[in-house]
């Protein structure tokens, strides 16, 4: 049904292989892609004999309106398309479709200005690599039909492929006061982190933490540490973990009771991601954690 999209390589890459490779990369890079299925609404008002030429012009128009890292495919024999918007969620995709419709309304499609062309679309955000290419295509087409039945300039969303895979993250709490350590543990434990599961461990000081191999795993790791600790301080921990390879998976939130601005600047320069001055509102910590995790997926 779909044209093969052949690169000028020795081995041709099919659309299916290409899209599957993109989808596999979604999980690894934590970057969603969205597939938009636009379809021509008022197809019955167009002379069938002129259709191939019109479809070609529309395909060119879509290609001009997308970014270099987006990909446009034409569905053979039907006035329907398949556009892969890499690095975009469904919100960006919806904005893209609205912009397309607006451009068509205001300026028209080049060489097709005499035609009143109206589109509807279905949109599928892909957040995991589960399901097959065929399933994605089938559902995209089915929902596009529903969208076309509803009328012109309609957008219908497909949520089947959106769910992000459950990912385990590690959280380390380094705090001398056992009661506050427990408070932090409970606060993080109670936090709704969407598709992230947490493994939380408490440490009395930097020495106990650094002696453990807990932080050496490949997990995303949130380290919540007081600056002053009995044996090795939070800053010692910060320096040590920032020397590790793949340090971007580690997020360090510092807590302090009486640091100066210079201390805070030094901590930020050394790689701290956030700084909380005690006493602080636990809600602040919660939103900071949530925002950090949200930013992991783009």
């Amino acid at each position: 049904m779909i044209n093969d999209y052949s690169f000028e390589f020795e081995y041709p890459v099919t659309t299916k292989e290409f899209v599957n490779a993109l989808r596999a990369n979604v999980v690894r890079s934590r970057t969603a892609i969205t597939v938009v299925f636009p379809g021509l609404y008022n197809v019955d008002k167009i002379d069938i004999t002129k259709m191939p030429k019109i479809e070609e012009k529309i395909t060119d128009f879509f290609r001009n309106e997308t970014r270099k890292y987006d990909f446009v495919f034409k569905i053979t024999g039907q006035p329907k398309w398949f556009i892969v918007l890499s690095q975009s969620g469904e919100r960006e995709a919806a904005a893209f479709i609205r912009r397309l419709n607006m451009t068509i309304r205001d300026k028209g499609i080049p060489d097709l200005e005499d035609y009143e062309l109206l589109f509807s679309a279905s949109v599928a955000e892909i957040g995991n690599d589960e399901g097959t290419f065929e399933e994605l295509l089938a559902e995209g087409m089915l929902v596009l039909e529903e969208s076309l039945i509803k009328g012109p300039e309609q957008i219908e969303y497909i949520t089947t492929f959106k769910k992000r895979p459950t990912e385990t993250i590690r959280v380390s709490i380094l705090e001398e006061n056992a009661i506050f350590r427990n408070v932090l543990h409970r606060t993080i434990e109670n936090l709704d982190m969407g598709h992230f599961e947490t493994e939380i461990k408490e440490f009395e000081d930097g020495y106990e933490f650094l002696e453990s191999n807990w932080y050496l795993s490949s997990h995303i790791h949130l380290i919540i540490t007081n600056d002053i600790l009995p044996r090795q301080s939070g800053l010692d921990v910060l320096h040590k973990v920032r020397m590790l390879p793949n340090t971007r998976r580690l997020f360090v939130f510092m807590m302090t009771k009486g640091s100066t601005e210079e201390d805070m600047i030094y901590a930020y320069e050394s790689g701290a991601d956030s700084y909380f001055i005690k006493p602080f509102n636990l809600r602040l910590l919660e939103v900071e954690i949530k925002r950090t995790l949200e930013r992991l997926w783009s």
């Binding site: 009661i179 506050f180 408070v183 005690k278 006493p279």
Partner: protein, 203 residues
């Protein structure tokens, strides 16, 4: 040469030895008592800190289990509350600690305020400030009238006065009877809003 009968010397040494034994016994028993109290406090904290978390964070209403039955439980609650106050600024948590302290810890601190021991009175003053026990403001004013008060106590009373009765504190501040260090002035004035600070400057 002074002559002391051997019998008297032995008696003297015996009495001193007895006193030493009694003192040692007292110290050992006292230590054992303190250790037992500390252990009980620790057990209370371990058993109840999750319940306290849930109550202070509005997950559950106040349960009968949290109302203290004895001084050990009060001391344990004090440790928990201080850990929160030093680290957490959530308004709900602060207000719950203040309300609970006023209702259930008031009598305990009132008793300490009336104590003849300076250290107990000072502890009570510190806690009244930390936990915001404004229901003891009048008791503190009565204490101010006592003549035998240390400078430290007078300063803490001044802090309490500034916390619970800002208006009359402004007047009192103008006629301070004790000398304050720069640090004490800073500690006293740091929590005031600009309006009060302006009044104090004019005064």
């Amino acid at each position: 040469m002074i002559e002391i009968a051997i019998g008297s010397l032995i008696k003297g040494i015996g009495v001193l030895f007895l006193i030493l034994v009694m003192i040692s016994l007292y110290i050992v028993l006292n230590n054992a008592k303190e250790n037992a109290s500390a252990e009980k406090i620790q057990i209370y904290i371990e058993n109840k800190q999750d319940l306290w978390y849930r109550y202070l964070n509005d997950e559950i209403p106040l349960s009968q289990e949290l109302i203290p039955n004895n001084d050990i439980e009060i001391k344990a609650i004090e440790v928990i509350f201080l850990a929160y106050i030093e680290n957490v600024s959530n308004p709900t948590v602060r207000e719950k600690i203040r309300t609970f302290s006023n209702q259930y810890l008031r009598r305990y601190y009132w008793r300490l305020l009336s104590s003849k021991r300076w250290s107990l009175r000072m502890n009570a003053l510190y806690r009244i400030i930390s936990l915001g026990i404004d229901s003891l403001a009048d008791e503190c004013k009565k204490l101010e009238k006592r003549t035998k008060l240390s400078t430290e106590e007078r300063f803490q009373l001044l802090v309490i006065h500034s916390m619970f009765d800002e208006a009359s504190f402004v007047k009192e501040f103008a006629n301070l009877s004790i000398k304050l260090s720069e640090y004490e002035y800073k500690k006293l004035l740091i929590g005031f809003n600009s309006e009060i600070l302006e009044k104090l400057t004019v005064t």
